[in-house]
């Protein structure tokens, strides 16, 4: 694979997310070179999704989406973008799958209820194809599956109780194939393009326990939040549109892993908390199991179990998070609790 950029430098670029400066623009030439030299192509499928992940991909700034579509990724199947329809499209997809050497991107959860009938995505030889079957069939042949968005990574909204269609995350449905989870509702375009770049140029990136690339999902929103000073000083917004930490209005920043607070969205113009909104924890496996606009008290950590925020701190193994639990328990007056955490699953330079 032709590349002059070391993996170490690449990961550093990805993780060092200065606001409004996207790293992937720098990578575009390397990716174009790789694609020209026969790098794997990409099949992109949509299941129980809202297309938001695709729309977010179109918002990529560096590299420009024009470049991404025409040079950087060999996108062989995408339901929203491709010219072909019907049989022509389905045949193309199976052709690419037969050729092998491709990555499968999945957007949306996999409905498994009613034998998969809650989502059919096409037809072959007069028979409908359920999304569940398609993900299994195509997934097995892929080099790796990239689950883009919280629905495909963890089940997301469609899998929320009562989970009417028995939706599952992709890695619950397809075994024996590496799966990379890039959650977010939707994921930042840099997380998606960056992950594609990593697999094309270097293979599977280093992942955390939830299968997320560490280069994007190691930090906690709260640690780098522009409203952090309000929190440390015990100033909390009571209604929307006010200055102050958003915790009382329902912010889930203290338990949310991603770099949105430093990377910012949409070309760096804004992000969730900057706009006076709350973080809703959309990159977490439990999303959206909590009320969006109520102060977090207990957190579900798995089926039928929940813990207090103090316990979450222990679960996450971070002093700062435990400190937040302390704040929530009413110890705001004590000010900053515990040393600032420096070692939140720091990306290894390997």
């Amino acid at each position: 694979m032709p590349t002059k950029l070391s993996r170490r430098d690449f990961v550093r670029l990805c993780a060092g997310s200065a606001a409004a400066i996207s790293m992937t623009g720098f990578l575009a030439p390397y990716m174009s070179e790789a694609v020209a030299a026969g790098a794997p192509s990409v099949i992109w499928l949509q299941g129980a999704s809202c297309t938001g992940c695709s729309i977010s991909l179109l918002n990529t700034v560096h590299p420009d989406i024009k470049k991404v579509l025409t040079e950087v990724i060999s996108l062989r199947y995408h339901p929203n973008i491709m010219a072909a329809a019907g049989d022509l499209a389905i045949q193309e997809m199976f052709k690419v799958a037969e050729e092998g050497n491709f990555f499968l991107v999945v957007e949306g959860a996999v409905p498994t209820g009613a034998d998969g009938l809650y989502c059919t995505v096409g037809e072959q030889n007069g028979h409908h194809i359920t999304f569940e079957n398609l993900v299994k069939t195509i997934g097995k042949k892929s080099n790796a599956i990239l689950s883009f968005g919280t629905c495909s990574a963890f089940g997301g909204i469609p899998a929320t109780p009562p989970n009417p269609t028995n939706c599952k995350a992709v890695d619950q449905v397809v075994k024996d194939v590496p799966v990379i989870n890039v959650p977010g509702c939707p994921p930042h375009p840099d997380w998606m393009v960056g992950t594609i770049a990593h697999v094309l140029l270097y293979g599977i990136p280093e992942l955390d326990t939830f299968g997320r690339p560490k280069m994007f999902f190691s930090n906690i929103i709260h640690d780098n939040c522009e409203r952090r000073q309000y929190f440390d000083n015990g100033i909390f917004a009571k209604t929307f549109g006010e200055p102050g930490c958003m915790l009382e209005l329902g912010c889930k920043g203290p338990i949310s892993h991603c770099d949105a607070s430093t990377r910012l969205f949409n070309g760096g113009v804004n992000w969730c908390v900057k706009s006076g909104g709350v973080c809703i924890g959309c990159t977490e496996p439990q999303f959206p199991a909590w009320p969006m606009y109520e102060r977090m008290a207990e957190m579900p950590v798995g089926p039928a179990t929940s813990v207090t925020v103090d316990q979450v701190g222990i679960v996450l193994g971070g002093l700062a998070v435990a400190g937040i639990g302390g704040h929530l328990a009413g110890n705001i007056a004590t000010g900053r609790i515990g040393p600032k955490k420096e070692d939140v699953e720091k990306e290894g330079d390997n």
Binding site: N80, A83, H128, N266, G276
Partner: protein
Amino acid sequence: MAKVVVDPVTRIEGHLKIEVEIEGGVVQDAWTSGTLWRGYERIMQGRDPRDAVQIMQRICGVCPTSHCTSGTLTIDDICGIEPPPNGRIIRNLILGSNFIQSHVLHFFHLAALDYVDVTRVKSINVNIPPFQPRYEAPYNLPDDINEFAAACYLDALVARRKAQEALAIWGGKMPHVQSIVPGGVSEVPDAQKIFEFISRIDELIAFIENKYIPVVMAVAQYFPDDFNLGIGCKNMMAYGGFPLEEGPDHVKKNKFIPSGIYLRGQDLAFDPAQLAEQVKYSWYNDDTHGQTPDKAVIEPNPTKKDAYSWLKAPRYNGSPMEVGPLARMWVMKQKDVRGLGDKAFSVVGRHFARAIECKLVAHELKKWALELQPGQPVCVPHKIPTGSEKVGMGLCEAPRGALGHWQQISSSGRTAVYNAIVPTTVNASPRDERGVQGPMEQALIGATVKDVNNPVELVKIVRSFDPCFGCAIHVMTPDQKTISQFAIN
């Protein structure tokens, strides 16, 4: 009787399938079926009603702003509150910016490849996947215009991204906005944001006027047959959008796009009480049949006999209605669109109305941004009432048509019933209890298909509605299979 299958239909949002029967090259009958069900309304049951702001906007990543607006309006309605002027204006800026991104995305990235011939483009390399393979059909644009349109396709990628940046200035991020909240918005206006917003809108206006509208006009000129394609039911419905004043009655207050009905050739006032949903041919139990939207409770039944769609059949006073930019511009009596007369009810008419609306909204956005008053409040406090059941209605306009959410809360202040009637449900609805086809089905009937192996006319009709669901079209192949076998077995 020839049957053709196109499955899936790509370049739309979501999952839909359509079947048609063709005789003598003309479509005799058609069936449209939504093929994805997620049960969002069920997921809302028992939750904090305010979660609708976040959960329900995730119905759709192309127009989350509209679902967010409608969902929030149900809560405003339940709480009996209304945003202050800044809140009203910023909600309009968010919704309007998304009209621009969605319309540009739709025409260039979803529809234009039916008109632009990528194989003849010389200046840029688009004769590759995902632009190939494609249906072979007449691509009539002359070389120079074809070249220009292809360049516009790529420019449009940048334009729609800029529209989302403009939106995110007020919305926090896009897709899925964070700043729309019960009682108003959370983003606070200042001069810097207003200027940043207007500078982007100026660029977008230049794109719309110099590229979007000219390419639509070229399509109209070189594909004159498409004025006779996809006629449909000719009944138009708009709930109205972009309120221009404060006032308690959300339906009647003055809005930039007014509410209205055009039924069997007559202009009428819109009355939400005339809406009802029918489920005879939908995969839901029949006990929800004919319910008004605030009462509908959904029990899925994916093996129901004779049913062929996850979409219900919303009807207004018993009639199928078309919604979308054409309906809005028609009801608004916009002179260019009404000036087309009956030709407006066509594939090209819909593209034209969408482009005109895009231009009108863009110009208004600049004006509205300058009406913002930095320093004044953006929202009012809210409290979910308890002690009795309440119902809230949230009507607005999505890029693809009239959108309504209804939410009923229990006496303990939790969501009891949630129902959303989305524009594509109205447009792509299946038959109703009288067997009358939905608007898109009617638009397909009568279409001339020149080559059943390249049925580009059918996908053009479907795409002209800008449908929003993962979609699969069945135009049945000549193997005499029954519709029901295709539908579910």
